[in-house]
């Protein structure tokens, strides 16, 4: 069972997750050891166990996915193949895992931008059709270039966002209440120009509910290291830990954004904001802070209630 339907009187829900595993950047295998894959499998188990029926994975290769399918609860999922070429030296290192008992994959499109003859990966777009009928769920997975390779102020970041926004616009033109989730490691913060201006992703849910073209980005909340009380552990400080960070080691590069249709729940699914956050596993937290570990991202999760 992968959909959350704990009690009969509770509203069934679908969990969604995104995780940059750091196992295989650019989908090239060879970086991760078996121990790393075993640890990553434990994360898969946690995500599936917590009710995630749609999981976007990043920095994974075919070898990693085969390992997860054989050694984790992801074994009951269908997975797209990572590694399709985005350019001569660049591959899409993202893939979508989904519960085939809930969704059928009806379309998969690679989105790339080309400047000066070089191609850059913008996103992979997936259309998932609910098995029990109803409107499609569109999922757009992105892994944008690291700031080491493309600076935070490089204008191409806004162009990437513009192209992704065009894809969202095309979906909204076909259906203004389209159910769209964008998730990824954008290597940009929620307040970056690419996210706010290029993608038109807002921190303001009420505003996003009243302006149908806005995307809502709940991950603005992960920008502070303050803990209200000792029990408060919502990983608010960020999703990505960079040991050599200058003014901060934490960054909020992993984000999810939701279309108007998923805020109003007018056509089937509605965002449950309380369960949309970074996923905290104490054992993984230790690895994030360990310089010898390759893991440096927290998974992020969201939940969609059936309206």
């Amino acid at each position: 069972m992968t959909a959350v339907d704990e009690d009969a009187d509770e509203i069934p829900a679908i969990g969604v997750a995104w995780w940059n595993t750091a196992l295989s950047p650019n989908a090239g295998s060879g970086r991760a050891a078996k121990t790393d894959r075993t640890r990553a499998s434990a994360v898969m188990d946690e995500l599936v166990d917590s009710g995630c029926g749609v999981i976007g994975l990043c920095e994974v290769s075919k070898v990693d996915i085969d390992y997860f399918l054989a050694n984790s609860l992801l074994g009951s999922f269908a997975c797209t193949d990572p590694g399709s070429a985005a350019g001569p030296r660049s591959n899409f290192d993202t893939c979508l895992a989904y519960d085939p008992g809930i969704f059928t994959l009806v379309e998969e499109v690679d989105l790339t931008s080309s400047f000066g003859g070089s191609r850059f990966r913008v996103a992979q777009r997936f259309e998932l059709q609910p098995v029990e009928g109803g409107k499609s769920l569109h999922v757009l997975l992105s892994h944008w270039p690291s700031r080491l390779h493309m600076g935070a102020n490089d204008s191409r970041r806004v162009l990437y966002a513009g192209q992704l926004r065009e894809t969202v616009n095309a979906l909204l033109t076909d259906d203004p209440a389209a159910q769209i989730i964008l998730m990824g490691d954008y290597n940009d913060e929620p307040f970056s120009e690419s996210m706010c201006v290029g993608l038109r992703a807002s921190r303001d849910r009420a505003r996003s509910e009243s302006k149908a073209d806005l995307l809502y980005n709940p991950f603005w909340r992960h920008l502070s290291s303050y803990r209200r009380d000792p029990a408060h552990s919502c990983a608010d400080e960020g999703t990505y830990y960079y040991h050599s960070g200058d003014t901060t080691r934490w960054h909020t590069f992993d984000q999810m954004m939701f279309s108007h249709g998923l805020l109003t729940g007018s056509d089937g699914l509605v965002l449950d904001e309380e369960s949309t956050r970074a996923h905290v596993a104490p054992w993984l937290e230790k690895l994030l802070l360990d310089r010898n570990s390759l893991f440096d991202h927290r998974p992020i999760v969201g939940r969609l209630l059936r309206a």
């Binding site: 690679d110 790339t112 080309s114 400047f115 003859g117 162009l159 192209q163 065009e166």
Partner: protein
């Protein structure tokens, strides 16, 4: 007044720049078509075709002439231009670039001439385009 003058000047410069880019794109497409014509002994060419989606909203179509219309990159028979097959969907910004070329499973936004040329070369070398060429060339000789 000076602000308005600057704004008008800015707008005219932007229009000139867009016109330059659109001409550049037309030139690339013409070159692409001419190459196909040469490769098929004058039988085939490439042009942009507009098709109307019959499922589009009729009222919206009255308000917006682009409603439900899609542009396609198409290979056609020179002697019989009504005979054509589409090879990719084509979207073009009002400013010229980006030109977005959409084929099965892939959508590429080209932001300059070099990128557009590279993308068209990729399409030209694809088995899908090859199959279309063989089909239409065969039927043009029949």
């Amino acid at each position: 007044m000076k602000e308005f003058e600057d704004a008008f000047q800015f707008g005219m410069n932007a229009a000139r720049a867009a016109e330059f880019k659109r001409r550049e794109i037309s030139g690339v497409l013409r070159e692409f078509s001419d190459s196909l014509t040469l490769s098929t002994n004058g039988a085939l060419g490439v042009d942009l075709r507009t098709e109307i989606n019959r499922k589009s909203n009729a009222l919206m179509a009255l308000l917006d002439p682009t409603e439900g219309r899609k542009q396609w990159l198409a290979v056609s028979i020179k002697e019989e231009p009504s005979k054509y097959e589409t090879v990719a969907e084509w979207r073009q910004s009002a400013e010229g670039y980006p030109c977005t070329v959409i084929t099965a499973g892939e959508e590429v936004a080209c932001y300059d001439k070099v990128s557009l040329q590279a993308e068209l070369a990729r399409i030209a070398a694809s088995p899908q385009m090859g199959a279309v060429i063989m089909r239409l060339w065969g039927s043009s000789e029949a």
